[in-house]
Symmetry: C2
Subunit: 235 residues, 2 copies
């Protein structure tokens, strides 16, 4: 059975002692009931992965000895960014985050589009979901997540070679599956349940976004996001 | 704005009166506050779709006049079946059902595998989720869902030309994206969180299932199910 796998921000040196955060420490002590000498695996979410051995346990924290050998795992390529409208139903947006992390998306940008239904965005919670999903899927790269960004601004800021917009307005669209496997950074934007407006779509086209189709059925926003992740990363 | 879209089992004739079920009637009267003469769209989940005009409303039910012109929409092809292990976390399984319906999967078979964590299966609830997802995505074909089936039996019963098994055991596997677009009925099976056992995998291979890969990251069961649906239907 695989060793327990945890996340720590502070994995910057090889060897030496490291105090784990409160939640991780509690899980190790109270749930897994691990003892001095037991091993775990750690990642810093930036590609580093190493073994660590439990040394001390107090009620508040665990201290581990980090192995001298620290693996440096490269991020998945090509670099994929999914920009996706926030959703009023927070759990749907969180499902998308989890699935985007599982499939190995490098970056997520929550978008505020014309028809986005505003909702309170809790960065700490979003990070927690991404960390859990990263660990669950045994990965060592934590997807980056931006603060909610107005769509028009994001379109202008994005400088990647391959840019796609998935919208439901009639018109010529390429199947996204054709884009899969192209080398080079890729970004795709997904609109709210009410779709992008005509103005937003034209703004994206002016900035060289290519309209793409995600199939013949009408997908919810979070489903479209997962479909895009699957087609670009796995397809 | 699109007319309200509802499901009714009993759409067997063109024209004539039809009493809608309780839940639909309540939604029409109390939520949408529709009146005599207002129009809705109906589907029977078997490809039929037509307009209907509200005639009578009582506290308990609504009666509509069905349009003479009933569309007969063919099911999506090729016919796709996803057989997938039941999950202890029911909401994850239900999330998969919803996404499978949205993407246009024709049939779902809940599997009982060696490592499936047993859970109470409520067919009525599963049907309700599939109906909602079908209506939300504007489709007219309700995915079929079988009762939970032991994996070994399902493998023997399945007679489709293209059969795939997605497992995590080391070995040669084809990328599922390569299978997308092949004409002819297709079925894929997805195992529980603990994966299929070696015995189960060998049983499938003996029955001409082809091992496939769903990418390089470790996916949860429901994520693998949605990935398979996306790759086969949209890819």
């Amino acid at each position: 059975m695989a060793l327990p796998f945890f996340y720590t921000e502070k994995l910057s040196q090889t060897g030496g002692r490291l105090a784990l955060d409160g939640a991780t420490s509690r899980h190790i002590s109270q749930v897994l009931r691990m003892k001095k000498g037991d091993s775990i695996i750690l990642t810093d979410g930036k590609g580093k992965r190493c073994r660590a051995v439990l040394q001390e346990q107090t009620k508040k924290e665990c201290v581990v000895d980090i192995d001298r050998e620290v693996l440096d795992i490269p991020p998945l390529k090509p670099r994929l960014t999914i920009a996706i409208s926030l959703l009023k139903n927070a759990s749907r947006f969180e499902w998308f985050l989890e699935k985007a992390a599982e499939t190995g998306i490098n970056a997520i940008v929550p978008l505020i589009c014309e028809r986005t239904e505003r909702v309170h965005f809790r960065m700490e919670r979003m990070q927690h979901i991404l960390v859990s999903a990263m660990l669950q899927s045994q990965q060592c790269w934590l997807p980056e997540i931006a603060m909610p960004t107005p769509f028009n601004e994001w379109v202008v800021q994005t400088g990647v070679p391959h840019r796609y917009i998935a919208h439901c307005i009639q018109g010529e669209k390429m199947k996204l599956s054709r884009a899969a496997g192209s080398p080079g950074e890729t970004a795709i934007c997904i609109g709210p349940e009410g779709d992008f407006s005509v103005t937003e779509t034209e703004w994206a086209l002016q900035h060289r976004f290519v309209p793409v189709s995600l199939g013949d059925t009408r997908l919810r926003t979070e489903t479209a996001g997962v479909a895009a992740a699957v087609l670009l990363r796995i397809g």
